[in-house]
């Protein structure tokens, strides 16, 4: 901070050249100005100068103090102090280098981060379900290997919600890859009567296979009692799986037409809704449900809806950006920041990276741009600088990390 001090004379010189009057007149004017202010203050008035500020007198009470040398108490007399309150304009002008800073609520910091991650919340259930599903699968395979005790109906009634929930999860997670990976396979196979979507058949056949051994087990006498709840739970899940499998696929085994597949999808998506409502603590999984409900109507539209925007945005991100058009030109002065320019023209400060990219040649260091540099603000695809889209922000931050080392 340069603490340069300038006197009345220097101000008068500047003033004279600016207002094209003689230096003497300028000095005179300033003296008269402050004399007038002084007189008004003496008269007990406050003085307001437009765009500059307000002068007023403030009475400072007499106070006790101690003489440092002698330790004897003295009284400092009360006095009038001239209080200067800068005008809003002057205040803002002076504070411009820090104007972009906002008070940060430190304790509210955590919820804020949570807000940012909310966009990812819809994905979280998937991950959780995936983990659970793989755990359950492991369990089932172990069960099949060991052939444990079979549990009777009462036990099943004891824990239906959990069991159901997990069972639905099982279905859902198995269903999920179908929607994502093989939309084409399904649409192709749809017209044909015989072939059915892969994973569905897997679950069915798997449950079919499961059924035989476990049915045998049912007949068998429960040999050794294990009080391991985990096994019991897993067995119950298997039983319910079989029941559902039977319920869904038993009668028309030979003719699995489109309709059954569709009804299957229906039920599965319904189940998904329920599961979501159970598992998400988040009060508004609306966006998630929407995306899930869409598949009911047609698988094709689903694959389009889900994948197309994502891909186009990704392509947009990946293509090297060129800036043929410019919407504005800004000259860097004291206190100018690329982030501020970005906020002004794009509505979000994170998108400054694009301005930097467009002006890379003139800016050796984005943190320290020489005064007077001409910055051209490029015209950017509005999809790329969509402040409401967290992906755009994330992309900009990635670039930010790239440029600011």
């Amino acid at each position: 901070m340069n603490k340069e001090k300038i006197s009345l004379q220097e101000v008068a010189d500047l003033f004279a050249s600016k207002a094209s009057i003689s230096k003497r007149a300028a000095e005179e004017f300033l003296k008269v100005l402050f004399l007038s202010v002084e007189e008004a203050l003496l008269a007990g008035e406050l003085v307001k100068i437009k765009n500059f500020g307000t002068f007023k007198l403030q009475w400072n009470e007499p106070r006790k103090s101690v003489n440092i040398q002698t330790g004897e108490e003295i009284i400092l007399a009360g006095y009038y102090k001239v209080n200067f309150i800068p005008d809003v304009l002057l205040k803002d002008m002076v504070n411009e280098p820090y104007a972009h800073l906002q008070p940060v609520d430190l304790d509210a910091g955590l919820p804020e981060i949570a807000d940012e991650e909310k966009s990812e919340v819809p994905l979280d259930p998937f991950r959780v379900f995936d983990e659970q599903a793989s755990e359950i699968k492991n369990l089932i395979s172990e069960i099949q290997a060991i052939r444990p005790v079979v549990v009777k109906e009462p036990v099943k009634e004891d824990i239906p919600p959990i069991a159901k929930g997990i069972e639905h999860v099982e279905f859902k997670t198995e269903k999920e890859p179908v929607i994502r990976e093989q939309p084409k396979a399904e649409t192709i196979s749809a017209p044909k009567p015989e072939p059915k979507p892969e994973p569905v058949s897997k679950t069915v056949s798997a449950s079919g296979f499961d059924y035989a051994p476990i049915a045998k087990k049912n007949n068998k006498q429960p040999g050794k009692k294990r009080n391991n709840w985990f096994w019991i739970l897993a067995v119950v899940i298997v039983i319910i799986l079989i029941n559902v499998g039977l319920y869904l696929f038993y009668p028309p085994v030979n003719k699995w037409t489109n309709s059954t597949v569709v009804t299957c999808i229906h039920s599965v998506s319904d189940i998904k809704d329920k599961v979501v409502s159970w598992f998400t603590v988040n009060p508004k999984p609306a966006s998630y449900i929407e995306t899930v409900v869409i598949p009911k109507d047609s698988m094709d539209s689903d694959s389009l809806n889900v994948e197309k925007p994502v891909d186009s945005l990704q392509i947009l991100f990946d293509t090297p950006r060129i800036y043929p058009e410019f919407i504005a030109t800004v000259r860097i002065k004291r206190g100018s920041r690329l982030t501020l320019i970005s906020k002004k023209y794009y509505g979000n400060k994170d998108f400054w990276v694009y301005i930097y990219e467009a002006n890379e040649k003139h800016i050796p260091n984005p943190d320290d741009i020489p005064k007077g540099t001409l910055i051209r603000v490029p015209k950017i695809d509005p999809r790329l600088i969509d402040a409401s889209n967290p992906r755009c922000i994330r992309k900009a931050r990635e670039l930010h990390d790239l440029y600011v080392k």
Binding site: K5, E38, M93
Partner: protein
Amino acid sequence: MNHKELIATMATKMNAPRSAVSDLLDTAVKILNEQLVEEKTIGFQSFGNFEVRKKEERLSVHPSTHVRTLIPPKLVVSFKQSNILKDKFKDIPHHE
């Protein structure tokens, strides 16, 4: 005393038309502001110093909610009267 009244008193003192005084005052204020924006200290011997000070960032705690807030640094204009001016006000009797 507001802006207009100030111009009026100055005009009578300088024997100049108000419009001219008003223009000059605007220019003067503009120059003072510019100097302050450049973080220069303006000193008028008989009046006082205008100075830009940096208030460092600080942590404030709301007394009742205990919410901690980080207040960013800022630049403010401060004015300190000169001793000459202070002495002049000694003569004003203090009521209350």
